[in-house]
């Protein structure tokens, strides 16, 4: 019996990566809170996770097979599920960043990251104790 990291770690590795990606997008929104014309963006987390799972080939793979090295990759990366936020209070200069909303989303994302991390860490701990056999 062989242990592959894909099976052992499950969904949490992808989830953690996407949490980092989403943190980046939200941090960018907050950074551009005073930039005229900037449109706030966010990641459709569920869609992005499904994409990245189908990419890794673990669940219902929709990825196209590359039978030749010259084939272009059709990978769906996370930026394809990058959407625009519906503004609640649009400002005159066209900026749609709501700092309070973005801060809340950023903090929540950081908490979810901690959760994913906790899961991943316990998986590793499980593997370690299985190897040690105690």
């Amino acid at each position: 019996m062989s242990i592959s990291f894909n099976n052992a770690l499950g969904i949490h590795e992808q989830a953690l990566n996407l949490r980092v990606k989403r943190a980046e997008v939200l941090a960018n929104n907050l950074a551009n809170a005073d930039t005229p014309g900037f449109k706030a963006r966010d990641l459709d987390f569920k869609a992005a996770l499904n994409n990245s799972l189908s990419q890794s080939g673990s669940a219902g793979s929709m990825a196209m097979a590359q039978t030749n090295s010259k084939h272009l990759s059709t990978s769906n990366d996370a930026s394809e599920s990058l959407l625009y936020r519906n503004p609640t209070q649009p400002s005159i200069d066209g900026n749609t960043v709501d700092t309070q909303q973005e801060t809340a989303a950023y903090m929540k994302n950081a908490m979810d990251y901690q959760a994913s991390f906790q899961f991943l860490n316990s998986k590793f701990k499980g593997l370690t104790s299985a190897i040690r056999g105690d």
Binding site: N17, A23, A27, L30, A31, A33, P36, S79
Partner: protein
């Protein structure tokens, strides 16, 4: 793991906001500097913010065609001088008065500058918080498997 990019993004925002705070300080400091000609008078300075667009090469093949490349932080494009009308006061006794007895004062609106200052310091603070949270996330990842 690209948590490093969050530091770049928040850092660019912090430097942009401190630039805004600098121009505000300069405007308020010069709010009452008198001058005798329209050429020499101080004009309110405002930074122009723009988001940093990633190059197409960095975003990869897919995003280049489907969407606008996502931005990575904010930059100051330049500093422009305000076109608002100058503040002219009739003060014939003033040493800087021109031939008609008028003294030129800068077109600095102190109320507007105070608002700008508060907004800049708030935004700066927000970005410090973003960086702090990213730091915590990064420190956690270093303890993976321990």
């Amino acid at each position: 793991m690209s948590l490093n990019r969050i530091f770049d993004i928040a850092g660019s925002a912090m430097s942009a906001q401190s630039m805004r705070l600098n121009t505000t300080a300069s405007n308020i400091a010069n709010a009452d500097t008198a001058s005798s000609s329209t050429d020499e008078v101080y004009r309110a300075r405002k930074p122009v913010f723009a988001s940093i667009q990633q190059s197409v090469m960095a975003t990869g093949f897919n995003t280049a065609f489907t969407d606008m490349p996502e931005s990575q932080g904010v930059e100051v494009k330049g500093i422009v001088e305000s076109d608002a009308p100058l503040n002219m006061r009739y003060q014939p006794d003033h040493p800087m008065a021109n031939g008609d007895g008028y003294v030129m004062y800068p077109n600095v609106n102190v109320v507007e500058e105070m608002t700008d200052m508060l907004s800049a310091s708030r935004s700066f603070q927000t970005n410090v918080d973003v960086m702090d949270a990213a730091k915590t996330m990064m420190q956690r990842i270093l303890t993976l498997g321990q």
